[in-house]
Amino acid sequence: MLEACGVASSEELFAHLPEAVRLNRPLALAPGISEYEIVDYFRKRGDETANGYASFLGAGVYAHYRPVLVDTVVARGEFLTSYTPYQAEISQGTLTTIFEFQTMISQLTGMDLANASMYDGSTAVAEAALMAARFTSKGGLLVARTVHPEYREVLKTYAKNQGMPVTEFGYDPETGQADLNDLESKLNDLTAAVIMQSPNFFGVIEDVNRAAEIAHKRGALAIMGFTEAVSLGILRPPAADIVAGELQSFAISPSYGGPYAGIIATREKFARQMPGRLVGETTDTHGRRAFCLTLATREQHIRREKATSNICTNQALIALMATVFMSVYGKQGLRELAEQNLAKAHYLAGKLRPRFSGPFFNEFAVYADNPEQLNAALLEKKIIGGLPLGRFYPELSGAILLCATEMSKRAHMDRLAEAF
């Protein structure tokens, strides 16, 4: 091959690089190691974590059982090692699964359409806000303080330079629900969107429909977020304009914060403002059903600086995990799963002093005199307690956020309750 290239060594192929840019020493990295050593290395890193603890952490990341089929499917090289399905004729596998994903997300959220995935829930919410601004040609964003604190931070990062002021509205310290009066008072004709999350960060279910009504009265769009996708198995989908959320609960391992999969679902009339990839149905030259990427004129590779988003690589394989998850549980299973989560959380809450009175799904805040001390005591019992809410809400420093799922064992819950 060198000969064919007319060079005596591979080095020569780099001869045209200016001397000044060259690295004239080897990289200061350890020599390559064997597969056996790699496995060993990461196993050791894994052992240096909370391996083997029972955990009641939620707060945007939930411990749900991952059906074995999920990894079976995504381990297939045909899904794992293929690129974005631009070449439809040899990508019908991926395209079909995305079409099914879009359909199921639409069904779950009660929306007309959904895209092929966003990076995660936090960026999905931010992109939804930009989308609303484009559609309404307005800039103000009103976001509830009950939205996941990190999601709000991301929203601010995205909105900052688009001339989109982000205003927060408060919550009812009794119910833990967003304060819709505060919302109403802050809403004005420059508001592009009202952003809420349900169940909210405290696990409390919001009155999303009333919030949407309020928003609509002033020409703002209602964006509804979610972090706990399993709740969609039992909660009525919101009457929102855009639903933006996180599918981590659908067989996506917590994996120290990612990769997860965000979604945006919306109404037909907002379709052309949708960020990210969309798969559509069409036919091949023989008239057979086929799928392909579509409405690409929204996207950066066609539209460049006028694109609806800069997103290119998304979370396809992770969305596929969610697709397999949804197929495995199906209509009845997702409901049953949600009911188990509901029962477990209510069992645990029944043993403790809930901080808020609003209805909750599988997550709730409870009073704790000294959350840090409590958690430290729990660690001794090989239990990771909840999130001290003071971290994000100074006014809630006497409360802790707990989550129970179908994987929470009664014995562990009992032990947790004893520590209070």
Binding site: R22, T49, P85, Q87
Partner: protein, 495 residues
């Protein structure tokens, strides 16, 4: 026209899940509930409880397995053969990386679990950070961005934050006309006006044009190096100087780092900030479109602005530092696509310094080999030495009415995934070929044969190429129809 790589075989049909569904079928079983059941209407309020999810599928476990197995067989993948998509760096994805990403203690680590119980995960991040710094020659890196475009956004926000801090965020980002679409899209989201600069006759950054464009309104230049022609921007240091002289910054799109690792470091040639695509250079699998990882590396002056949290070492332990007053904030919840970071680190550990450099050399050799073999048959509009990829134009074939897109489709009949079509935009009818280092000579030669064979077919029988592919279970797909009246989800056929 001998097609050597494939022949015809039966391929399973498969309906959509919704069409296979029927009430009562199930692929799941839940543990028996060990606590009292709760009435949803009571617990949640009847108004909050949904009725059944209309249209949601119900299938059995074997149907689910078959469904996805059958669909998978309709895909082409790296595991099947060469995937020479230019700019995408479709290299082999080692399977051990998939295994280690599923290591129990890592895969099940909750981002809010105590730092004392997360040291292993944090060490993975720290190890990756320091490897990437050594590779790029930069001073600090954030692992938070989820992909290349996300890294671009982060990087431009960093530039903006620095300039703002200096008193004026400025108005414009300069972008060469050869750039990837994410570059201008990113600049726009970061609140900048995009100004394109035309490449010179060699396809390189036009230094004179640059000098003219850079004024007090310019925040920075986004440049891909090697550029999207696969050519190294040989005057990159001068370009950086031009920018720096005017207080503007140099952003490098690191999508093409596969041509540089171990050979040259952006930190050594004037780059202020750059992103890496872990799913390209560092081989984390593309997975049909994602996930990726888009770490952003910066020089010291941009470090204060990096997203929170920053990993730091305190008394021999790792900790997250949220106390960063100048930070642009967060670009994503938590710390990044951690599972992707694990895979990238595994790749780096397996290769080591020398292995990474060798990979770069092989990638460049492979691209040059293809160039040499195909040059007699296809037009090469830019002829400077190329690195890891080579971009031909369909000029000669277009005269016979056959375009790059047709040749791409015909490659499918020959058993290959097509190259990247019609990008970069500065090449009319671009055919952008990136073999990567993981292709062996056997596979490269088959690809070259196929391309030459198609070139000859076009002379003898252009129609066959224009209507390709002919041997796939799905023939050419009507994309125009799909966009005309979009059908974006399945709905039950009206009775």
């Amino acid at each position: 026209m001998a097609i050597k790589k494939v022949r015809a075989h039966i391929s399973p049909n498969e309906a959509l899940l919704f069409e296979r569904s029927s009430p009562g079928k199930k692929a799941y079983q839940l543990p028996e509930l060990d606590v009292p059941a709760v009435d949803p209407n009571t617990a949640l309020g009847a108004a909050n409880v949904r009725s059944e999810i209309e249209g949601f599928p119900e299938v059995s476990e074997v149907e689910a397995v078959r469904h996805f197995t059958r669909l998978s067989t309709w895909n082409y993948a790296i595991d099947h053969g060469m995937y020479p998509l230019g700019s995408c760096t479709m290299k082999y994805n080692p399977r051990v990386n998939e295994l280690v990403a599923r290591t129990e203690g890592l895969a099940w680590a909750h981002p809010y679990q105590p730092e004392s119980l997360s040291q292993g995960a944090m060490q993975v991040m720290a190890a990756l950070e320091s490897a990437l710094l050594e590779i790029t020659g930069m001073d600090a890196v954030t692992l938070q961005p989820a992909a290349g475009a996300h890294g671009e956004l982060t990087g431009i926000l960093l530039i903006r934050a620095l300039l703002e801090h200096q008193g004026n965020p400025r108005k414009k980002i300069l972008i060469p006309d050869s750039a990837h679409g994410t570059n201008p899209a990113t600049a726009a989201i970061a609140g900048y006006v995009v100004e394109n600069i035309r490449s010179d006759e060699h396809g390189l950054l036009d230094l004179a044009a640059l000098e003219q464009s850079v004024d007090e309104d310019v925040a920075g230049l986004m440049v891909t190096n090697p550029n999207t022609l696969g050519v190294f921007e040989s005057r990159i240091i001068e370009a950086a100087e031009v920018l720096h002289r005017k207080g503007a910054l140099l952003y490098m799109d690191g999508a093409n780092m596969n041509a540089l690792v171990g050979i040259a470091r952006p930190g050594d040639f004037g780059v202020d900030v750059m992103h890496l695509n872990l799913h390209k250079t560092f081989s984390t699998p593309h997975g049909g479109g994602g996930p990726g990882g888009g770490p952003v590396a910066v020089k010291k002056h941009l470090e204060p602005y990096l997203p929170v949290p920053r990993l730091k070492r305190v008394d021999g332990h790792l900790a997250f530092d949220y106390d960063r007053p100048c930070s642009i904030g967060k670009v994503k919840a938590f710390y990044g696509n951690f599972g992707v970071l694990v895979r990238a680190l595994a790749y780096i550990l397996a290769h080591g310094g020398n292995g990474l450099r060798n990979a770069t050399m092989d990638a460049v050799l492979n691209a040059n080999y293809i160039r040499k073999k195909l040059e007699p048959f296809f037009d090469l509009p830019y002829t400077l030495p190329n690195m890891h990829e080579v971009v031909f134009s369909d000029d000669r074939q277009a005269r016979l009415g056959v375009r790059t897109g047709d040749i791409a489709k015909r490659l499918i009949d020959y058993g290959f995934h097509p190259y990247t079509v019609s990008f970069p935009l500065i090449v009319h009818g671009a055919m952008m070929i990136e073999p990567t280092e993981t292709e062996g000579k056997l596979e490269l030669d088959l690809f070259i044969d196929a391309m030459i064979s198609i070139a000859k077919e076009i002379e003898a029988d252009p129609q066959t190429v224009k209507t390709a592919p002919h041997s796939t279970r799905t023939s050419r797909v009507d994309e125009v129809k799909a966009a005309r009246k979009p059908v974006l989800k399945w709905t039950p056929a009206s009775p």
